[in-house]
Symmetry: C2
């Protein structure tokens, strides 16, 4: 925020106002918007230099000023300010205190810089790093390690639950080693669809396109998307197994059941991944955390653990229940 803004009085005439702005030109942040204040420093209206220059000379400032204007409060989030300015094509926006007294202005160049830095922080968080806040090549390797190791360790500890989960299915794997072959394929399908959903929602929330109270609309859309995407990947997975088996007999007599297990698991895991990925940023926001902390790797980790449980439960039901 900049406190050096151009002030006008409502009763000034146009020529007087222009002459006054000319004199202020060296001292203020911008002369392209002037702020019309009452004697208590409350903002009455805004007049652009362009409005003044195209007004008739016999008019007064209060006749040409805009009484309906966008403004922000002092503690407003930077990205929200930038969004408001872009949406209303403003070169500057006034900052008011709660009683309407003018504190300063935010100019578009500052807002644009803030928007750029905000986008960087968002992208870096989605990638699973703490925001760097300095250019990549200017960040020391030491700082880089610190910003990356934290999340990576948390994710690693979370991912250890996969070993625990799989420990519960060790007997099943020993009985049908073929199940192990598809573990990465199954869990990554969930991670990838979750990663898509979470980035779409994080971005939509950053732009204010999706608000937390719209969670049920998001849920419905992602449920439909999850079913659709799951069905597509399911067909690809089944086709792969049938073709492979046809060519080399790789999966033995049980090949049809294996195809069924893989197909059903892919649908389940993709649907689960899509829904978790979409809901996690909304849940984080509801608890006042940054939605972008629902990074692609974090969603993938949650989905990996639950994906394994889905996969082995289906396998136990469809394959091993019969085989045993």
């Amino acid at each position: 925020m900049n406190p050096r803004f151009a002030r006008l009085r409502p009763e000034m005439d146009i020529d007087e106002a222009i002459a006054y702005l000319r004199r202020q030109a060296g001292q203020v942040e911008t002369i392209y918007y002037a702020y019309v204040l009452d004697t208590d420093q409350r903002l009455l209206g805004i007049v652009s230099l362009r409005d003044l220059l195209s007004a008739r000379r016999n008019q007064h400032v209060h006749q040409v000023m805009r009484r309906r204007f966008q403004n922000v409060l002092e503690n407003e989030r930077q990205e929200a300010v930038a969004k408001l300015m872009t949406d209303h094509r403003l070169l500057a926006i006034p900052v008011l205190d709660p009683s309407g007294v003018m504190c300063g202005i935010v100019t578009i160049d500052d807002a644009m810089l803030a928007a750029r830095e905000g986008a960087s922080r968002e992208v870096q968080k989605i990638g699973g790093t703490e925001a760097l806040d300095t250019p990549y090549l200017d960040t020391t390797v030491r700082t880089m390690l610190r910003k990356r190791a934290g999340w990576l360790s948390v994710l690693f500890l979370g991912e250890m639950l996969t070993a625990t989960a799989m420990g519960c299915f060790e007997k099943e794997i020993a009985r049908a080693v073929v199940l192990a072959l598809f573990i990465p394929l199954i869990i990554s399908s969930g991670g990838n669809s979750g990663s898509q959903a979470t980035t779409l929602i994080i971005r939509a929330m950053a732009l204010g396109e999706v608000r937390p109270r719209q969670w049920w609309r998001v849920l419905l859309r992602e449920l439909l998307s999850g079913i659709g995407l799951g069905a597509i990947l399911c067909s690809l997975g089944i086709a792969r197994i049938l073709i492979w088996h046809g060519a080399s007999g790789a999966y033995g007599e049980q090949f049809a059941r294996i195809a069924l297990v893989i197909g059903a698991s892919v649908i389940g895991v993709v649907m689960f991944g899509t829904i978790i990925g979409a809901m996690l940023p909304l849940i984080l926001r509801a608890f006042k955390f940054d939605p972008a902390s629902a990074s692609a790797p974090a969603v993938a980790t949650i989905v990996d653990v639950s994906g394994l449980v889905i996969y082995f439960s289906i396998a136990k039901m469809l394959l091993l229940g019969v085989a045993g």
Copy 2:
């Protein structure tokens, strides 16, 4: 680009110029910058309305205009234009043809909108979706499916290589089922560290902080980061196995060798993931593709396949070579 910009002649005096701008105010995109052209429409200099208003009345336009100015060519990328304007705090930038003839201007509000849309496309691509180009809730489920299914299917087909790779190690898994338990942990460590590296580099390239010819600096930094991050996760992994084994004897007599295999694999996979994640966007740019196509899921998929090969090769060497 907007062709409606304010023009001035170099020989005009200041009052004449201001009066002329006042008359043009309704017809041009902005009157806050005026463009001084010669008779062949070539751009000689730029004068801001602020410069005009703070100039002495007896001066002429050619005395106050800025002869050194930023400009862009017609086919310049939108994000590059936005970056140039932010860095130089410009409200408008002239678009010239190669001979210096003025074609139009880009104003900051258009640039800011372009920057926002560019950031959205970048974030969505990093998440593994084609750019939506419409707000999330306004995109039909059908379009959403189309934009997401493409990449998801490609990644799924790529990830099928994991089943193929693991097929080569089926005997090893049958001999030591315990190896299967750590598959998700190992490959996700690579995916997560790759995802961090790729988003950091994509963002740094979008901001022009990293250029393709600096690839060796990136490689060196990521090699160091990879070793550091790998060492941290390696210690966590080994600690987990030793503690678990101490508590429940879960890993039998071979527990020390298993810990060694996991530790060595984590270092190898994290280093590999970090380097692939960082280099892929640079390689894509070198071949004129969008670096943001090196999405977190794409990097994870590449690292999954190679991570399995690293893991089982180390296991074969350190564990099974002795056990067999």
